[in-house]
Protein backbone atom coordinates (compact mmCIF):
# COMPACT_ATOMS: atom_id res chain seq x y z
CA UNK A 1 0.00 0.00 0.00
CA UNK A 2 2.93 2.37 0.66
CA UNK A 3 3.76 2.38 -3.07
CA UNK A 4 0.16 3.10 -4.03
CA UNK A 5 -0.08 5.98 -1.57
CA UNK A 6 3.14 7.47 -2.97
CA UNK A 7 1.71 7.26 -6.49
CA UNK A 8 -1.48 9.04 -5.40
CA UNK A 9 0.46 11.72 -3.52
CA UNK A 10 2.65 12.29 -6.58
CA UNK A 11 -0.49 12.99 -8.64
CA UNK A 12 -1.91 15.20 -5.91
CA UNK A 13 1.39 17.10 -5.72
CA UNK A 14 0.60 18.72 -9.10
CA UNK A 15 -1.54 21.27 -7.29
CA UNK A 16 1.32 22.17 -4.95
CA UNK A 17 3.00 23.89 -7.91
CA UNK A 18 0.05 26.16 -8.72
CA UNK A 19 0.42 29.77 -7.67
CA UNK A 20 -2.65 30.36 -5.53
CA UNK A 21 -1.28 33.10 -3.33
CA UNK A 22 -4.14 35.19 -1.95
CA UNK A 23 -6.92 32.83 -3.12
CA UNK A 24 -9.56 32.27 -0.44
CA UNK A 25 -9.96 28.58 0.48
CA UNK A 26 -13.41 27.03 0.02
CA UNK A 27 -14.57 24.73 2.79
CA UNK A 28 -18.21 24.84 1.83
CA UNK A 29 -19.95 25.79 -1.42
CA UNK A 30 -23.28 27.11 -0.20
CA UNK A 31 -23.20 30.41 1.63
CA UNK A 32 -24.99 29.84 4.88
CA UNK A 33 -25.11 31.51 8.22
CA UNK A 34 -25.02 29.38 11.27
CA UNK A 35 -28.37 29.06 12.99
CA UNK A 36 -29.34 27.64 16.33
CA UNK A 37 -32.52 25.67 16.77
CA UNK A 38 -35.16 26.94 19.15
CA UNK A 39 -34.27 26.11 22.75
CA UNK A 40 -37.30 23.90 23.31
CA UNK A 41 -37.25 20.48 24.97
CA UNK A 42 -38.10 17.62 22.65
CA UNK A 43 -38.13 13.83 22.81
CA UNK A 44 -34.73 12.47 21.86
CA UNK A 45 -33.69 8.82 21.65
CA UNK A 46 -34.47 6.90 24.84
CA UNK A 47 -31.51 5.17 26.55
CA UNK A 48 -32.87 1.78 25.47
CA UNK A 49 -32.99 2.79 21.81
CA UNK A 50 -29.59 4.50 21.96
CA UNK A 51 -28.03 1.37 23.44
CA UNK A 52 -29.85 -1.11 21.21
CA UNK A 53 -27.06 -1.36 18.63
CA UNK A 54 -24.17 -1.32 21.11
CA UNK A 55 -21.87 -4.36 21.18
CA UNK A 56 -21.74 -4.44 25.01
CA UNK A 57 -24.37 -2.37 26.81
CA UNK A 58 -24.49 -2.64 30.60
CA UNK A 59 -26.76 -0.81 33.06
CA UNK A 60 -27.67 1.96 30.65
CA UNK A 61 -24.06 2.53 29.56
CA UNK A 62 -21.58 1.45 26.87
CA UNK A 63 -19.05 -0.96 28.39
CA UNK A 64 -15.53 -0.89 26.89
CA UNK A 65 -12.26 -2.63 27.76
CA UNK A 66 -10.16 -0.86 30.35
CA UNK A 67 -8.24 2.10 28.92
CA UNK A 68 -5.20 0.97 30.91
CA UNK A 69 -3.45 -2.25 30.03
CA UNK A 70 -3.24 -4.56 33.00
CA UNK A 71 0.03 -5.57 34.63
Amino acid sequence: MAGELSGILEHVDRIAKLDLEGVEPTSHVVELENVLRADKPHQSLTPDVALAAAPDPVDGAFRVPSPQAEG
Partner: protein, 480 residues
Protein backbone atom coordinates in the same frame (compact mmCIF):
# COMPACT_ATOMS: atom_id res chain seq x y z
CA UNK B 1 -47.68 -8.21 -15.42
CA UNK B 2 -44.70 -7.75 -17.69
CA UNK B 3 -46.44 -4.79 -19.35
CA UNK B 4 -46.86 -3.00 -16.04
CA UNK B 5 -43.12 -3.22 -15.39
CA UNK B 6 -42.50 -1.51 -18.73
CA UNK B 7 -44.10 1.71 -17.45
CA UNK B 8 -41.86 4.53 -16.28
CA UNK B 9 -42.44 5.60 -12.68
CA UNK B 10 -44.25 8.74 -13.87
CA UNK B 11 -46.56 6.66 -16.10
CA UNK B 12 -47.23 4.14 -13.34
CA UNK B 13 -47.98 6.88 -10.80
CA UNK B 14 -50.42 8.51 -13.22
CA UNK B 15 -52.13 5.17 -13.84
CA UNK B 16 -52.40 4.56 -10.08
CA UNK B 17 -53.80 8.05 -9.49
CA UNK B 18 -56.36 7.52 -12.29
CA UNK B 19 -57.46 4.21 -10.77
CA UNK B 20 -56.24 2.22 -13.79
CA UNK B 21 -53.50 0.42 -11.88
CA UNK B 22 -53.52 -1.01 -8.36
CA UNK B 23 -50.59 0.27 -6.33
CA UNK B 24 -50.55 -2.99 -4.35
CA UNK B 25 -50.47 -5.21 -7.44
CA UNK B 26 -47.87 -3.03 -9.09
CA UNK B 27 -45.73 -3.03 -5.92
CA UNK B 28 -46.06 -6.82 -5.61
CA UNK B 29 -44.97 -7.27 -9.22
CA UNK B 30 -41.84 -5.23 -8.53
CA UNK B 31 -41.14 -7.10 -5.29
CA UNK B 32 -41.25 -10.32 -7.30
CA UNK B 33 -38.92 -8.87 -9.94
CA UNK B 34 -36.52 -7.69 -7.21
CA UNK B 35 -36.53 -11.18 -5.67
CA UNK B 36 -34.99 -12.40 -8.93
CA UNK B 37 -31.83 -10.34 -8.28
CA UNK B 38 -28.94 -12.23 -9.86
CA UNK B 39 -26.63 -9.18 -10.02
CA UNK B 40 -25.79 -9.06 -6.27
CA UNK B 41 -27.46 -5.66 -6.42
CA UNK B 42 -29.62 -5.86 -3.28
CA UNK B 43 -28.12 -6.23 0.20
CA UNK B 44 -31.56 -6.37 1.81
CA UNK B 45 -34.99 -6.80 0.25
CA UNK B 46 -38.46 -6.24 1.62
CA UNK B 47 -40.14 -9.63 1.91
CA UNK B 48 -36.88 -11.55 2.08
CA UNK B 49 -38.24 -13.55 4.98
CA UNK B 50 -36.41 -11.79 7.84
CA UNK B 51 -39.72 -10.23 8.90
CA UNK B 52 -38.29 -6.72 8.71
CA UNK B 53 -39.88 -4.02 6.58
CA UNK B 54 -39.86 -0.30 6.05
CA UNK B 55 -43.46 0.65 6.63
CA UNK B 56 -45.33 2.80 4.17
CA UNK B 57 -48.79 3.81 5.29
CA UNK B 58 -50.59 3.56 1.97
CA UNK B 59 -48.71 2.72 -1.25
CA UNK B 60 -49.51 5.46 -3.76
CA UNK B 61 -46.57 5.57 -6.14
CA UNK B 62 -43.88 3.35 -7.64
CA UNK B 63 -41.65 1.52 -5.13
CA UNK B 64 -38.05 2.69 -4.75
CA UNK B 65 -34.70 0.94 -4.33
CA UNK B 66 -32.52 2.78 -1.80
CA UNK B 67 -28.71 2.78 -1.62
CA UNK B 68 -27.60 1.12 1.60
CA UNK B 69 -26.05 4.37 2.80
CA UNK B 70 -29.45 5.75 3.91
CA UNK B 71 -30.44 4.92 7.47
CA UNK B 72 -33.69 2.97 7.74
CA UNK B 73 -35.05 2.43 11.23
CA UNK B 74 -34.84 -1.20 12.33
CA UNK B 75 -33.69 -2.38 8.89
CA UNK B 76 -30.07 -3.35 8.16
CA UNK B 77 -27.93 -0.43 6.96
CA UNK B 78 -24.32 -1.33 6.18
CA UNK B 79 -22.92 1.31 3.79
CA UNK B 80 -21.30 -1.69 2.10
CA UNK B 81 -18.99 -2.14 5.08
CA UNK B 82 -18.21 -5.05 7.36
CA UNK B 83 -17.93 -2.62 10.25
CA UNK B 84 -21.71 -2.03 10.03
CA UNK B 85 -22.72 -5.64 9.38
CA UNK B 86 -26.07 -6.23 11.10
CA UNK B 87 -26.40 -2.58 12.15
CA UNK B 88 -30.00 -1.43 12.51
CA UNK B 89 -30.33 2.35 12.82
CA UNK B 90 -32.49 3.99 15.45
CA UNK B 91 -33.99 6.43 12.95
CA UNK B 92 -34.83 6.91 9.27
CA UNK B 93 -33.06 9.35 6.94
CA UNK B 94 -34.99 12.37 5.68
CA UNK B 95 -34.68 11.25 2.02
CA UNK B 96 -36.30 7.88 2.78
CA UNK B 97 -38.86 9.56 5.06
CA UNK B 98 -39.89 11.83 2.17
CA UNK B 99 -40.31 8.83 -0.13
CA UNK B 100 -42.47 7.08 2.46
CA UNK B 101 -44.52 10.22 3.01
CA UNK B 102 -45.13 10.37 -0.76
CA UNK B 103 -46.46 6.81 -0.61
CA UNK B 104 -43.48 5.00 -2.10
CA UNK B 105 -42.81 1.49 -0.73
CA UNK B 106 -39.11 0.66 -0.26
CA UNK B 107 -38.18 -2.39 -2.36
CA UNK B 108 -34.79 -2.90 -0.78
CA UNK B 109 -31.34 -1.56 0.07
CA UNK B 110 -28.78 -1.63 -2.71
CA UNK B 111 -25.16 -2.72 -2.73
CA UNK B 112 -22.45 -0.06 -2.97
CA UNK B 113 -18.74 0.61 -2.63
CA UNK B 114 -17.84 0.65 1.06
CA UNK B 115 -18.78 4.07 2.50
CA UNK B 116 -19.31 5.23 -1.13
CA UNK B 117 -15.58 5.09 -1.84
CA UNK B 118 -15.11 3.64 -5.30
CA UNK B 119 -16.04 3.81 -8.97
CA UNK B 120 -16.71 0.13 -9.70
CA UNK B 121 -18.62 -1.35 -6.74
CA UNK B 122 -15.71 -3.72 -6.21
CA UNK B 123 -15.01 -2.15 -2.81
CA UNK B 124 -18.20 -3.54 -1.25
CA UNK B 125 -17.60 -5.92 1.66
CA UNK B 126 -20.50 -7.94 0.23
CA UNK B 127 -19.05 -8.61 -3.21
CA UNK B 128 -19.26 -6.64 -6.46
CA UNK B 129 -22.48 -5.82 -8.30
CA UNK B 130 -22.57 -7.15 -11.87
CA UNK B 131 -23.41 -4.92 -14.82
CA UNK B 132 -26.69 -6.16 -16.39
CA UNK B 133 -25.36 -5.33 -19.87
CA UNK B 134 -22.40 -7.69 -19.41
CA UNK B 135 -21.99 -9.62 -16.19
CA UNK B 136 -18.23 -9.74 -16.60
CA UNK B 137 -18.13 -5.97 -16.18
CA UNK B 138 -18.58 -3.45 -13.36
CA UNK B 139 -21.73 -1.32 -13.02
CA UNK B 140 -19.68 1.69 -11.90
CA UNK B 141 -19.78 3.12 -8.42
CA UNK B 142 -20.31 3.92 -5.79
CA UNK B 143 -24.11 3.73 -6.37
CA UNK B 144 -23.59 0.63 -8.55
CA UNK B 145 -26.39 -1.36 -6.95
CA UNK B 146 -28.93 1.43 -7.48
CA UNK B 147 -27.87 1.80 -11.14
CA UNK B 148 -27.90 -1.97 -11.78
CA UNK B 149 -31.40 -2.52 -10.34
CA UNK B 150 -32.89 0.17 -12.56
CA UNK B 151 -31.01 -0.96 -15.68
CA UNK B 152 -31.58 -4.64 -14.92
CA UNK B 153 -35.34 -4.44 -14.37
CA UNK B 154 -35.15 -5.07 -10.61
CA UNK B 155 -36.64 -1.69 -9.59
CA UNK B 156 -38.54 1.09 -11.41
CA UNK B 157 -36.33 3.80 -9.91
CA UNK B 158 -33.75 4.28 -7.18
CA UNK B 159 -31.85 6.79 -5.08
CA UNK B 160 -28.13 7.02 -4.54
CA UNK B 161 -25.49 9.47 -3.40
CA UNK B 162 -22.85 11.37 -5.36
CA UNK B 163 -19.68 12.71 -3.75
CA UNK B 164 -17.44 12.90 -6.83
CA UNK B 165 -19.54 11.14 -9.47
CA UNK B 166 -21.12 8.22 -7.61
CA UNK B 167 -24.57 8.71 -9.19
CA UNK B 168 -23.56 9.96 -12.65
CA UNK B 169 -20.78 7.46 -13.44
CA UNK B 170 -22.77 4.27 -12.63
CA UNK B 171 -25.79 5.75 -14.47
CA UNK B 172 -23.51 6.22 -17.48
CA UNK B 173 -22.06 2.69 -17.29
CA UNK B 174 -25.54 1.14 -16.91
CA UNK B 175 -27.36 3.20 -19.58
CA UNK B 176 -29.78 5.08 -17.30
CA UNK B 177 -30.32 8.66 -16.06
CA UNK B 178 -28.47 9.87 -12.96
CA UNK B 179 -28.83 13.33 -11.43
CA UNK B 180 -26.60 14.97 -8.84
CA UNK B 181 -28.55 17.99 -7.61
CA UNK B 182 -27.03 21.21 -6.30
CA UNK B 183 -25.33 20.71 -2.94
CA UNK B 184 -27.99 21.51 -0.34
CA UNK B 185 -31.01 20.66 -2.52
CA UNK B 186 -31.73 17.46 -0.55
CA UNK B 187 -31.22 16.81 3.15
CA UNK B 188 -28.24 14.70 4.17
CA UNK B 189 -29.82 13.77 7.51
CA UNK B 190 -29.45 10.04 8.08
CA UNK B 191 -27.23 9.63 5.02
CA UNK B 192 -24.04 8.00 6.28
CA UNK B 193 -21.32 10.63 5.84
CA UNK B 194 -18.32 10.17 3.55
CA UNK B 195 -17.22 13.73 2.67
CA UNK B 196 -19.81 16.05 4.15
CA UNK B 197 -19.05 19.13 2.03
CA UNK B 198 -19.56 17.10 -1.17
CA UNK B 199 -22.10 14.32 -0.43
CA UNK B 200 -25.43 14.79 -2.15
CA UNK B 201 -28.43 12.49 -2.61
CA UNK B 202 -30.06 12.10 -6.02
CA UNK B 203 -32.19 9.95 -8.36
CA UNK B 204 -31.17 7.08 -10.66
CA UNK B 205 -34.02 6.54 -13.11
CA UNK B 206 -35.00 5.22 -16.52
CA UNK B 207 -35.64 8.65 -17.95
CA UNK B 208 -35.40 12.38 -17.29
CA UNK B 209 -39.05 12.83 -16.28
CA UNK B 210 -38.71 10.18 -13.58
CA UNK B 211 -35.60 12.01 -12.33
CA UNK B 212 -37.54 15.29 -12.19
CA UNK B 213 -40.36 13.69 -10.22
CA UNK B 214 -37.99 11.95 -7.81
CA UNK B 215 -36.13 15.23 -7.22
CA UNK B 216 -39.40 17.02 -6.49
CA UNK B 217 -40.18 14.40 -3.81
CA UNK B 218 -36.71 14.48 -2.22
CA UNK B 219 -35.81 18.17 -2.29
CA UNK B 220 -36.46 20.64 0.48
CA UNK B 221 -35.00 22.32 3.51
CA UNK B 222 -34.74 20.09 6.56
CA UNK B 223 -34.31 21.35 10.13
CA UNK B 224 -32.23 18.21 10.79
CA UNK B 225 -29.58 19.24 8.20
CA UNK B 226 -28.42 22.82 8.64
CA UNK B 227 -26.68 22.72 5.22
CA UNK B 228 -29.89 21.89 3.38
CA UNK B 229 -31.60 24.73 1.53
CA UNK B 230 -33.95 23.00 -0.90
CA UNK B 231 -34.94 24.41 -4.29
CA UNK B 232 -36.91 27.65 -4.66
CA UNK B 233 -39.57 25.65 -6.49
CA UNK B 234 -40.19 21.90 -6.73
CA UNK B 235 -39.23 20.82 -10.27
CA UNK B 236 -42.03 20.33 -12.78
CA UNK B 237 -42.07 17.46 -15.28
CA UNK B 238 -40.08 18.70 -18.27
CA UNK B 239 -41.74 18.92 -21.68
CA UNK B 240 -39.40 21.14 -23.69
CA UNK B 241 -38.75 19.78 -27.18
CA UNK B 242 -36.06 22.08 -28.56
CA UNK B 243 -32.83 23.69 -27.42
CA UNK B 244 -33.32 26.96 -29.31
CA UNK B 245 -31.17 29.77 -28.01
CA UNK B 246 -29.37 27.62 -25.43
CA UNK B 247 -25.59 27.83 -25.31
CA UNK B 248 -23.59 24.67 -24.51
CA UNK B 249 -19.91 24.92 -23.64
CA UNK B 250 -17.38 22.13 -24.18
CA UNK B 251 -14.36 22.62 -21.90
CA UNK B 252 -11.18 22.07 -23.91
CA UNK B 253 -9.18 20.99 -20.85
CA UNK B 254 -11.56 18.13 -20.19
CA UNK B 255 -12.10 17.14 -23.81
CA UNK B 256 -8.45 16.56 -24.64
CA UNK B 257 -7.69 13.89 -22.06
CA UNK B 258 -7.74 10.18 -22.66
CA UNK B 259 -11.29 9.40 -23.76
CA UNK B 260 -12.03 6.02 -25.32
CA UNK B 261 -12.74 6.34 -29.07
CA UNK B 262 -16.26 4.88 -28.74
CA UNK B 263 -17.10 7.39 -26.00
CA UNK B 264 -15.72 10.27 -28.07
CA UNK B 265 -17.78 9.19 -31.07
CA UNK B 266 -21.04 9.18 -29.07
CA UNK B 267 -20.10 12.51 -27.48
CA UNK B 268 -19.48 14.15 -30.87
CA UNK B 269 -22.74 12.74 -32.24
CA UNK B 270 -24.62 14.14 -29.24
CA UNK B 271 -23.12 17.59 -29.83
CA UNK B 272 -24.45 17.37 -33.39
CA UNK B 273 -27.89 16.47 -32.01
CA UNK B 274 -27.80 19.52 -29.75
CA UNK B 275 -27.07 21.71 -32.76
CA UNK B 276 -29.90 20.07 -34.71
CA UNK B 277 -32.26 20.99 -31.84
CA UNK B 278 -31.20 24.64 -32.09
CA UNK B 279 -28.55 24.66 -29.37
CA UNK B 280 -25.23 26.39 -29.86
CA UNK B 281 -21.94 24.58 -29.16
CA UNK B 282 -18.84 26.57 -28.21
CA UNK B 283 -15.48 25.53 -26.83
CA UNK B 284 -14.59 27.15 -23.56
CA UNK B 285 -11.91 26.93 -20.97
CA UNK B 286 -12.09 25.77 -17.34
CA UNK B 287 -8.40 26.22 -16.56
CA UNK B 288 -8.48 24.54 -13.14
CA UNK B 289 -10.90 21.69 -13.83
CA UNK B 290 -8.08 19.34 -14.75
CA UNK B 291 -6.79 19.70 -11.18
CA UNK B 292 -10.13 18.50 -9.86
CA UNK B 293 -8.95 14.95 -9.21
CA UNK B 294 -5.93 16.16 -7.22
CA UNK B 295 -8.00 18.53 -5.10
CA UNK B 296 -10.78 15.98 -4.65
CA UNK B 297 -8.44 13.21 -3.50
CA UNK B 298 -7.18 15.52 -0.77
CA UNK B 299 -10.50 17.05 0.35
CA UNK B 300 -12.69 13.93 0.25
CA UNK B 301 -10.23 11.66 2.14
CA UNK B 302 -9.56 14.47 4.65
CA UNK B 303 -13.25 14.76 5.45
CA UNK B 304 -13.64 10.97 5.41
CA UNK B 305 -10.79 10.46 7.87
CA UNK B 306 -12.67 12.66 10.30
CA UNK B 307 -16.17 11.26 9.59
CA UNK B 308 -15.07 7.65 9.90
CA UNK B 309 -13.47 8.18 13.32
CA UNK B 310 -16.90 7.34 14.79
CA UNK B 311 -16.57 3.63 13.93
CA UNK B 312 -14.76 2.51 17.03
CA UNK B 313 -16.67 -0.54 18.26
CA UNK B 314 -18.27 1.29 21.19
CA UNK B 315 -21.78 2.47 20.32
CA UNK B 316 -22.77 0.36 17.29
CA UNK B 317 -21.40 -1.92 14.64
CA UNK B 318 -18.60 -4.42 14.80
CA UNK B 319 -16.38 -4.83 17.88
CA UNK B 320 -13.36 -7.06 17.41
CA UNK B 321 -12.69 -9.61 20.15
CA UNK B 322 -9.45 -8.73 21.89
CA UNK B 323 -7.96 -9.52 25.25
CA UNK B 324 -6.21 -6.16 25.39
CA UNK B 325 -7.04 -2.62 26.45
CA UNK B 326 -9.33 0.00 24.89
CA UNK B 327 -6.83 1.21 22.28
CA UNK B 328 -6.17 -2.35 21.16
CA UNK B 329 -9.92 -2.85 20.78
CA UNK B 330 -10.20 0.30 18.63
CA UNK B 331 -7.31 -0.79 16.44
CA UNK B 332 -8.47 -4.39 16.02
CA UNK B 333 -12.05 -3.28 15.27
CA UNK B 334 -10.99 -0.83 12.57
CA UNK B 335 -8.41 -3.24 11.09
CA UNK B 336 -11.06 -5.96 10.84
CA UNK B 337 -14.03 -3.80 9.92
CA UNK B 338 -12.68 -1.54 7.15
CA UNK B 339 -11.69 -2.66 3.66
CA UNK B 340 -8.50 -1.69 1.83
CA UNK B 341 -9.83 1.36 -0.03
CA UNK B 342 -11.36 2.85 3.11
CA UNK B 343 -8.09 2.35 4.99
CA UNK B 344 -6.19 3.93 2.10
CA UNK B 345 -8.39 7.03 2.19
CA UNK B 346 -8.30 7.35 5.97
CA UNK B 347 -4.49 7.30 5.76
CA UNK B 348 -4.41 9.79 2.88
CA UNK B 349 -6.81 12.11 4.67
CA UNK B 350 -5.01 11.90 8.00
CA UNK B 351 -1.73 12.63 6.24
CA UNK B 352 -3.18 15.60 4.33
CA UNK B 353 -4.50 17.09 7.57
CA UNK B 354 -1.38 16.48 9.63
CA UNK B 355 0.60 19.35 11.04
CA UNK B 356 3.32 20.38 8.59
CA UNK B 357 1.44 19.08 5.54
CA UNK B 358 -1.91 20.79 6.11
CA UNK B 359 -1.18 23.93 4.09
CA UNK B 360 0.56 22.10 1.26
CA UNK B 361 -2.24 19.60 0.78
CA UNK B 362 -5.55 20.50 2.39
CA UNK B 363 -5.13 24.29 2.26
CA UNK B 364 -3.95 24.19 -1.35
CA UNK B 365 -6.78 21.83 -2.37
CA UNK B 366 -9.36 24.19 -0.85
CA UNK B 367 -7.92 27.04 -2.90
CA UNK B 368 -8.10 24.92 -6.07
CA UNK B 369 -11.73 24.31 -5.16
CA UNK B 370 -12.30 28.08 -5.11
CA UNK B 371 -10.67 28.40 -8.56
CA UNK B 372 -12.72 25.55 -10.04
CA UNK B 373 -15.96 27.12 -8.77
CA UNK B 374 -14.81 30.48 -10.21
CA UNK B 375 -14.08 28.83 -13.58
CA UNK B 376 -17.64 27.49 -13.71
CA UNK B 377 -19.07 30.88 -12.68
CA UNK B 378 -17.15 32.53 -15.51
CA UNK B 379 -18.39 29.91 -17.98
CA UNK B 380 -22.01 30.31 -16.84
CA UNK B 381 -21.78 34.08 -17.37
CA UNK B 382 -21.55 33.25 -21.10
CA UNK B 383 -23.17 29.84 -21.45
CA UNK B 384 -26.22 27.98 -20.13
CA UNK B 385 -24.57 24.59 -19.73
CA UNK B 386 -21.21 22.85 -19.63
CA UNK B 387 -21.16 19.42 -21.30
CA UNK B 388 -18.69 16.52 -21.19
CA UNK B 389 -18.77 12.75 -21.50
CA UNK B 390 -19.81 11.42 -18.07
CA UNK B 391 -17.02 8.88 -17.93
CA UNK B 392 -13.89 8.55 -20.09
CA UNK B 393 -14.72 4.88 -20.61
CA UNK B 394 -17.57 2.42 -21.00
CA UNK B 395 -18.05 -0.26 -18.31
CA UNK B 396 -14.72 -2.00 -17.70
CA UNK B 397 -14.09 -5.60 -16.72
CA UNK B 398 -14.34 -6.82 -13.13
CA UNK B 399 -10.85 -6.73 -11.63
CA UNK B 400 -9.44 -4.67 -14.51
CA UNK B 401 -8.58 -1.55 -12.49
CA UNK B 402 -8.43 -2.81 -8.91
CA UNK B 403 -4.64 -3.11 -8.91
CA UNK B 404 -4.14 0.60 -9.66
CA UNK B 405 -6.10 2.94 -7.37
CA UNK B 406 -4.97 6.04 -9.29
CA UNK B 407 -6.33 4.64 -12.59
CA UNK B 408 -9.61 3.98 -10.75
CA UNK B 409 -9.69 7.56 -9.42
CA UNK B 410 -9.27 8.95 -12.94
CA UNK B 411 -12.72 7.51 -13.81
CA UNK B 412 -14.06 10.53 -11.93
CA UNK B 413 -12.16 13.01 -14.11
CA UNK B 414 -15.31 14.52 -15.68
CA UNK B 415 -17.59 14.35 -12.65
CA UNK B 416 -15.40 15.63 -9.80
CA UNK B 417 -15.18 19.31 -10.88
CA UNK B 418 -18.98 19.76 -10.60
CA UNK B 419 -18.98 18.19 -7.15
CA UNK B 420 -16.23 20.53 -5.97
CA UNK B 421 -18.22 23.50 -7.32
CA UNK B 422 -21.46 22.17 -5.76
CA UNK B 423 -23.39 22.56 -9.03
CA UNK B 424 -26.04 20.21 -10.48
CA UNK B 425 -25.17 17.77 -13.26
CA UNK B 426 -27.06 15.01 -15.02
CA UNK B 427 -25.92 11.99 -17.00
CA UNK B 428 -28.22 10.72 -19.73
CA UNK B 429 -27.63 7.66 -21.94
CA UNK B 430 -26.51 8.94 -25.36
CA UNK B 431 -25.61 5.82 -27.32
CA UNK B 432 -23.72 2.56 -27.40
CA UNK B 433 -20.07 1.77 -28.00
CA UNK B 434 -18.23 -1.38 -28.97
CA UNK B 435 -15.93 -2.60 -26.21
CA UNK B 436 -12.32 -3.22 -27.14
CA UNK B 437 -11.94 -6.94 -27.67
CA UNK B 438 -15.60 -7.47 -28.60
CA UNK B 439 -18.67 -8.40 -26.60
CA UNK B 440 -22.06 -6.75 -26.33
CA UNK B 441 -22.24 -3.02 -27.04
CA UNK B 442 -22.26 -0.91 -23.89
CA UNK B 443 -23.92 2.39 -22.95
CA UNK B 444 -22.21 5.79 -23.03
CA UNK B 445 -23.38 8.67 -20.87
CA UNK B 446 -23.51 12.39 -21.71
CA UNK B 447 -23.10 14.85 -18.85
CA UNK B 448 -24.77 18.27 -18.68
CA UNK B 449 -23.88 20.66 -15.85
CA UNK B 450 -25.80 23.82 -14.92
CA UNK B 451 -25.42 26.70 -12.45
CA UNK B 452 -26.36 26.09 -8.81
CA UNK B 453 -30.11 25.67 -8.28
CA UNK B 454 -30.85 25.70 -12.06
CA UNK B 455 -32.27 22.16 -11.88
CA UNK B 456 -35.44 22.97 -13.83
CA UNK B 457 -33.48 24.39 -16.74
CA UNK B 458 -31.13 21.40 -16.61
CA UNK B 459 -33.99 18.88 -16.62
CA UNK B 460 -35.78 20.71 -19.45
CA UNK B 461 -32.69 20.63 -21.67
CA UNK B 462 -31.86 17.04 -20.74
CA UNK B 463 -35.41 16.00 -21.60
CA UNK B 464 -35.34 17.66 -25.03
CA UNK B 465 -32.01 16.00 -25.77
CA UNK B 466 -33.19 12.63 -24.46
CA UNK B 467 -36.22 12.71 -26.76
CA UNK B 468 -34.07 13.54 -29.78
CA UNK B 469 -31.49 10.84 -28.96
CA UNK B 470 -34.23 8.23 -28.51
CA UNK B 471 -31.99 5.82 -26.60
CA UNK B 472 -34.06 2.66 -26.19
CA UNK B 473 -31.42 -0.07 -25.99
CA UNK B 474 -31.75 -2.52 -23.10
CA UNK B 475 -29.38 -5.00 -21.50
CA UNK B 476 -29.47 -8.32 -23.30
CA UNK B 477 -30.98 -6.68 -26.39
CA UNK B 478 -29.81 -6.98 -29.96
CA UNK B 479 -26.17 -7.93 -30.09
CA UNK B 480 -26.24 -8.90 -26.39
Amino acid sequence: MAAMLELTAVEANEAIAAGDLSADEYGAAWAEAAAGDDLNAYLWRDGNGDGEAIAVEQPKIAPVAVKDIFCTEGVPTTAGSRILQGYRPAYTSTAVRRLLDAGAPILGKTNMDEFAMGSSNENSAYGPVLNPWDRGRVPGGSSGGSAAVVAGGLAPWAIGTDTGGSIRQPASLCGIVGLKPTYGAISRYGMIAFASSLDQCGPLTRDVRDAALMLSILQGKDPCDSTSVGLAQAPQLPDREDLNGLRFAVPTELARDSIEPGVREVFEATLATIERLGGEITETTLPHAEHGISAYYVIAPAEASSNLARYDGVRYGLRAETAGDLVEMYEATRAEGFGTEVKRRIMLGTYALSSGYYDAYYGQAQKVRTKIAADFSAAFAEFDFVVTPTSPSIAFGLGEKTADPLAMYLNDFFTVPMSLAGIPAISIPAGLAEPEGGGPQLPVGFQIAAPAFAEQKLLDAAYALEQAIGFDAKPGGAGG
